[in-house]
Structures are given as structure tokens and as C-alpha cells.
């Protein structure tokens, strides 16, 4: 199946992936080949089959009690952050100037 450049751009936008033009072109070609191949399941009759999303039958969500507790790992998690200020992770500003068009 062919997939046009605009569609590839749209998918890359959804996936938040920035590729340079030559990589984008290559991705378009690879995607076309892979989609051709995976489309072989198209003709199978699946009308009376339920989708199987997981081999384990999960009857209900498994949750833990919603209790607040102090984490001993708080500081170690913060140490992983690319940039921090005290107990906060720093990111470029998300409001006002510097925010890109909402996507």
C-alpha cells in the first residue's frame, strides 16, 4: 500500500518524532513495504472472533489502595531528571511565549 508524504508527516507529528528530510523519505518507503506485508491478514474472515488483547484473562482491574505515603526514592527519581530545581523537574516554559502551536 502506498502512503503519501503528508500522511507520514501527520503520523510523525502524532508520534512526536523529528526526522530530517532524508530519514522521513526513507521512513515513507519502509512503511509502505511493511504495510504491504502486514496487510496479508486483511482477507481473513474475523467476523465472529473476539479480539485478544492479552493472553491473561483479566476480569477486573487490579488496583492498590489509593493511600498517600512517603517514597524513599523521591530524591533518586529527581536525580534522574535532566534538569531540576529543588524538588521540581524543570522544563521549558509551557505557557505564554515559547509554547508552540497546540497539536
Amino acid at each position: 500500500m502506498s502512503i503519501d508524504a503528508d500522511r507520514v508527516d501527520e503520523i510523525l507529528r502524532l508520534a512526536r518524532l523529528e526526522l530530517d528530510p532524508s530519514e522521513r523519505c526513507r521512513m515513507q518507503q519502509d512503511l509502505a513495504v511493511i504495510l504491504d506485508y502486514v496487510s496479508t491478514i486483511e482477507h481473513l474472515d474475523t467476523s465472529d472472533v473476539s479480539p485478544l488483547h492479552n493472553p491473561v484473562e483479566i476480569d477486573e482491574n487490579i488496583t492498590r489502595p489509593d493511600d498517600a505515603h512517603a517514597s524513599r526514592l523521591h530524591e533518586r527519581f529527581l536525580q534522574s531528571a535532566p534538569e531540576r530545581e529543588g524538588p521540581y523537574v524543570v522544563v521549558p516554559r509551557v505557557v505564554g511565549d515559547g509554547v508552540s502551536e497546540d497539536v
Binding site: I11, L17, L19, P51, L52, I58, S80, E83, P92
Partner: protein
Amino acid sequence: MAEIARHDAHLGAFLSVSYPDAPGVKGPLHGIPYAAKDNLCTATLPTTCASRMLEDYHPPYDATVIARMQEAGAILVGKTNMDEFAMGSSNETSAFHPVANPWRPDHVPGGSSGGSAAAVAAGLVPLALGTDTGGSIRQPAAFCGITGMKPTYGAVSRMGLVAFASSMDQVGPMAMTASDCAAAMDILVAHDPGDSTSSDHPDAGDFLRRVRAAPDGCDGLRIGIPREYFGQGVDPEVVRAVRSAADVFSELGARVEEMSLPHTVYALPTYYILASAEAASNLARFDGVRYGRRAAANSIEELYWKSRGEGFGREVQRRITLGTFVLSAGYYDAYYLKAARVRGIMAGEITRAFAQYDYLLTPTCPTTAFPRDVRTEDPLAMYMADVCTIPANLAGIPAVSVPGGLVNGLPVGVQLMGRRFDDAGVLALADRFQRATGHHLLGPEGFGDHRERGGEDA
């Protein structure tokens, strides 16, 4: 440690090593050194997933399996190389360096747990942990001539495993023998409240004792050989090795017969749709905000785009893009939902087969190890390396790859699959095969003295 230092400069199996003290804990694996694939979180060593995205990442905690191995007295000596984020079948997508196959250094070790397989095959460690989403334990085990076990989905905790495709990922052991794998399974398999798919199935335990208690023969066992696993692209010499394994089981008293699983041909396309969709979703967390690589950027959107564009390698980007496509509006029903339905058909077909057969016998991979660089430009050619291993992941059943002899001096893998939670039975059957054949005793030239060198072809 001396062996690792001496050999790993040529092999490239390790991404980090530690020089640990003797264990304080006296457990069933007391003092046994082991290596763990670099997608399992370790508090004492970096966890990179062989990706630029996590190049300097030090997890705050140990994965449940790492903690359990430590409690059992095993010693973590290093983290092993892999395909980036476990996406690949040759270890060539590692962002850092490739891994040499100890049997033939210009050939790939398989993947994605290629470092773990090479480290065991070269005798650098007696045991390594791998992970298997579509064959990533079994296929490199086959290429490197060792034993690799993918447990039943839900048997081993995935808490602290960096997720790829959550409905298929499993952690499992890679070792010289099935009984060594069973000893590791005794430690690895346990219910973990930290993993919502972790099972407390009563049959999931006591592996080594059950393997040892199994009779030498296979009287009464019914083994099916699905003919679809011997189709186009399967090396005739690999077919011959699997046939000769079938003869071994017949001689041991099993009833071995050919049968059919007609939907097997759809396993690979189904897998690539579902696994990529799950990967696109799981890898959304790598956004440059809380941990991992962060690109210089002036806005938060730019930070996401650039960090992910720079941090992920080409194969990972390809799978994220495919996964995003099959989940996108207008394509979800035709691709993702369709594939989930086909998975339902395949899992049903396999379950029905196990009403008639106790185990299934197939090749692990259509070929032996291939030379480096020949498949990297053709994603579909690379994907074909997993064609025999994927069905077990789609159905969530246990499967093991055992050495089946040599073809042109390279190891062939034979795969055994069993019913869900019959992991002990699968390992016991593998153990009987190893007691009868000794293929697992062959090792590559030039490494240590733990096995016979070289050997005759199968």
C-alpha cells in the same frame, strides 16, 4: 571477571560490568555469577536498553527479578548488550556496538538478547537473564548454541523491565542446559503484586525438582510437528536437524506426528501490528522530561520532538511510526483491531492443538546465524528471523530453544512449546533431549574450557 575482561573486548556482549563482593546471602544460587539484559532495571548499574535515549540512566530501584536473584545469592556481574529497546533480531540495532557470535565472530549472535546469549555461549557467565517479546530469548539462544526459555506469559514479574509490548514481554533464563534454566526458574517465577499480569498459578513452581523427577523416557507423550513451520525460507539443513530431534523423541517413546496449524502464516504480520502498537504507546514515556536524553529546545513541544528524534535509533523510530499509524483514526479497525482478532484465532487454534498434543516441536529459527550487515537494510528480511518464535508470544505459552547440533559449524535451535503453565514439562522434555543427545555440550573454539570445542555437524 578475568574471562569477561579478556574476551569481551572482542565479543561486545557487555554494556557494563560490576566487581561485586561475595554475596552476603546464602540462597539456592549462592555465589553463582549471572548477567542481566540491559532493559532490566538495576539500582547499582546503568540501564540503557542499548539506546542513546537512556545512555546515562541509573534506575532508582531493582527490577523484581534482579531483587529475587540477589535474595537467592546470585551475583550480578554485568548488564548485557541488546537490540535497542529489544527491537531487532541480530543485536545490530544496539546504539553502542554490535555483538560477535562466539561461534563465528563476523556472524550475528541473534537478538534481541544477543549479549546474554553470547556471554553464556562463550562461558563468561553460566547464566543470563533475557527478555522475549517475539523470540528475543529463544532465537539468540539458537544462534549461539545454548538453552533459552520463554516462560508462560504471567509467570515471571515484569516489574522493572522496560516495557516494549506489554501483552507479550516475558523475562526468562538463558544457560547451558535445561536443568540450569529450571534452577533459575525456581527463583524467577513468583507472584508479584507490582505486575498486574503476574500470576499466582499453582503449577508455576518447583521446576528443578520436577525436571529431575521426570523419567528418562517419553512414554505416553504426544508431540505434534506443525508443518507450517517448515515452509518457504527454512534452511533444509535446519529441517533435517529438527527431524532428527523428532527421531530422538520417537526413540524415547513419544508419539511424534505431523499436524497442522494453518493460521501460523499470519503470526508475523499480526505480531508486527500489535507489538508496534504497544511499543508506540509504551515508548511515549521517553519525552526528555523526567529522565533520559533531553535535547536543547525552546519549547516543551520542541523538547519532545527533538529528544525523541535524536534519542531513538532507526528501527525503534520505524516501530513507533508503524504503531502510531495502526492506532490512528481511520486505520485502527483495519489494522490494530483486525490483528487482535487474528491473534484470537491463532491462540484458539494453538489451545485446540494442545487437546491432542502435549508438546509442539519446531525449528527455533528458519536459519542458523547470518553474517553481520546483510539484513540491516531490509526490515522484512530481519523480521523473518522471528517467524517460528512469535506464535508462543501471541498465545502466551511457554517455549524453550535447545541446541540441536551443528550445520556448517554453526548451532541450530530446536524449539519445544507447551501448554500455558506447563513450563516444568517443557523444561523436563528439553532436559530429556539433552540427556539423550549431548548437543548442548558443544561449545565454540577459543573460549574457556567449559564445553567440548567445535564438533561434527548434525
